[in-house]
Amino acid sequence: MKPFTYVTARSPASALELVREQGRFLAGGIDLLGEMKESIATPARLVNIKALPDTMAVTNANGRWRIGTNVTLATLAAHAGMKPALTGLVEAAADVGSPQIRHVATIGGNLAQHSRCWYYRHRDVNCRKKGGRLCYAREGESKFHSLFTGCTCLSPLGSNIAIALAALDARVFVQRGRKVESMTMAELYATAWRTPTAHHSLRDDDLILRIEVPAAPQGRSAYLQVAERSDFDWALVSCAASARVVDGKLQNARIVLGAVAPIPWQADAANAALEGKPVTTATAEQAADLLLQEARPFGDNAYKIPIARALVRRTLMKLVA
């Protein structure tokens, strides 16, 4: 690991100032320290953001949930007040890593995490995401990789919190220079769709401050994932859904797939197809068709398509159960 200095920021403005000289923001460090140990990231300075004011709390006011960037995943997973309203988010948080990781990892860090692609994470492989020439997964071992991408890199988004938040129409509030800008989850990852070296749309000195989730009256949400192991494993495919359920019919429905693209995978047509419909095998299959119609499997990842189909149906069933 390259030597680095360590400073604690007391305000967003100073955090941005401090990070500009080859710095990286440090919250839980679960993602960043792994990259540093593998020499994938070599920051000269770590800017501790855990002391920033108003970043540790979950509040609910004016019809919105506000989740500070430093709220840990363990807090989210155990949040009794949030569970009935934002079930999908709570369930997604509970499925991240292990108890030890969830007690340290923050929601901001989870959203800003870098690719888990095994080529990207290998210390001696200079893949396309690291600025090299090739995406080795294309001709190589692509079992965990994307079914959809807008660029040469095949690595999917690793954050399943992002999938749950996308289904909830959440917005991320980011300190960008002197302004606080808000982004949808789609916007947060749009750059990774088209730029192979990008993990998200954040610049190096963009700082996630909080996440806001509309607290829709009678809104329901659900999350499911399939991994190779029962626990402490990355999703092969994840799925999140939300809707208001009125007389058994969906209103304002959202269905999102994870681990299949560098962005939360959504299709307006799939959401529209569910609007005003009850959840049946037929409506779920139709939504899955619309989500997956442009899927382009590579060597080893075609199996993700049947899993995604099953998850779309099961997540929608869970939503109305």
Partner: protein, 721 residues
Amino acid sequence: MPWPQTTKYFGRSSPRLEGPAKAAGRARYTADVELPGMLYGAIIRSTWPAAHIRAVRLDQVRAAPGIRAAITAQDGAFDVHFYGAELAAVAGISRQAVLDALTLVEIDAEPRPFLVDELEALRAEAPRVVPARANLTDGKAQATADVDAAFAASAAVVEGTFETQVELHHPLEPHGHAASWEGDELTTWSSTQAVFGCRSAFAQALQVPQNKVRVICEHMGGGFGAKFNPGVEGILCARLARVAGAPVKLILTRFEQALAVGNRPSSHQQIKLGADATGRLTAFQLESFGTSGYDVGANTGGGSGSARFPAPYIYKVPATRVKQGTVAINAGLSCAMRAPGHPVASFGMEAILDDLAVKLGRDPLELRLLNDPSEIRQREYRLGAEKFGWKQKYRKPGSSAGPIKSGIGCAGAAWMSGGRGTQAELEINPDGTVAVRVGTQDLGTGSRTVIQVVAAEMLGLDLAAVAVGVGDTRFPPSGASGGSATTASVAPAIYDACEKALAELAKSSAIADPRGAHWLKACKTLGSAPLRVRGVWREGLSTGGAGGVQFAEVEVDTETGFVTIRKILVVQDCGAVVNRLTCESQINGGVIMGIGYALYEERVMDRATGVVLNPNLETYKLPGAADIPEIDIVLLDMPERGVIGVGEPCTIPTASAIANAVANALGVRVPRLPITPDRVLAALGRVPPPSRQARARAALKSAFARIAQMPEPIGPEESPA
């Protein structure tokens, strides 16, 4: 066998002697050893999968801050054959100083073509992994006469292709040593399965007399066949300490564990099995190959890392033809790994046997009872079937309703498990306490506790009165802890020592039976000098040949491919049970390792770069607590057979039983381990096979054709274990 019939400890459950020390963090493992002035050591490894190394220059490394020693792994120019091969080693005052200095090495290397794909390496035009040898090494073929005639006369013939992965050695405690020189005398703290084996290897490699080398292994976090000798890392550690003139500790990282400490070879097995109308096996034919890395596998003293395996496994088949090859790729060498060859052999054989049962419309358990020559396994199958509810649970393959299907399967195992050769020192003190010292080692298996149990039982003492020392070459010699030999090798020596000690004490104290009420009085007569006797392993207290069977119950989600194991039942013979608790703990561990082999573990290498893509426990997946089902263990306690080891047989049939349960649930076979969701969905035909897989199948077929062309063997078949 003269083991006691009525017992206080023997055959019962005593807690692990060192348990409190481990739970409290007091137990000292190699990584915990701290000596004054101790340096950190690390290894510089090849980042080329194949290269000719002309020179390794360490001048800049040596000049770096905090560096006290830097040495090359080999003198002069040499070839490396895998990513991760050792080039040089560095010792310095801190881990950071060493890691910083590693980047300063200058290597003059000529990269060479490489291959990490077994099927590519088998192509006729493939470059050679080691220039002097063809990539395909023919193993010794075996056959009996009339194989073709036997197939022709069979009422049913099934054929199948089965594949197993390369499994990595990932004990919780990685490989490592601490080495300290006092003048020309070397002491090492080594994570090893053989302190005496390590002593010989250190002495030979470092040109030091054996009486000037001491190897200590107080506690160990597991050894499964890769820790029989110091390894390249141990020798480098001791050399660094000698050059630096200071103690050096060198512990491998998880990353390095994935590259260079050995592994279980892969296998590709094409099997043909015939039976008569009653279900009796008539003919067996196998073509197989697997990779042991760049060579035919390391012989680490506890069994080799050969890609060959016993065939046909455990069943009696009158006509057999077996052709086995090894294919070299640019990867680290295989070595012994918990029951070398057997889980590999078991997977193919038990699978084809179940496929035969399906073809014959028979219950697969019946077919085993008909064809398994072992009386012990016959008994175990009957006992297990009753307890498991086999008859009630067994359904036709794929016949359970709904998308989540349940299934059951079973499989058997054989292991030689013999052990001999241990000596033990028993010391009886005038205050009635006892110390036993044996130069064996406790891998975490409970060897210490076994020694305590035997001594306490034989001397009629409480466990607390018996102190046990193991893991030191200053103690009387014992063999390697491998081959499931330890308990059978150690327990008789303790028995012998106790018997001798009691005789001597009876003589010196003039108390005919000094045990029990007379113990303290008898011991007091010793005066100030303790009584010391040496026990030696002797015949008649232990034996070999352990059999075991396992039953598995699974649920398979046919929409996602996810496998959930509901239950594993183990019926295991290990002769006389010495300590039930640690014996069952061994079996739990064996089953869990088998679950990893069945569902999760697989080394993945990249064809383009030659690296191991999953050199960590994130993507090299070991089973976690949530993946472990109910494990029910029935021990056939047979004191009349004497002591038999259990560490290996208990891991052999787990994956086979699970794979058969999955096949029973689905109605189709998942022919390759590990059984991951993608493979389940592919077997169900839910995934369009990519063109690459079709190419791989064609390459596999031509590989088997090459193996089949191996010269027709002559002479009688070797009898497998």
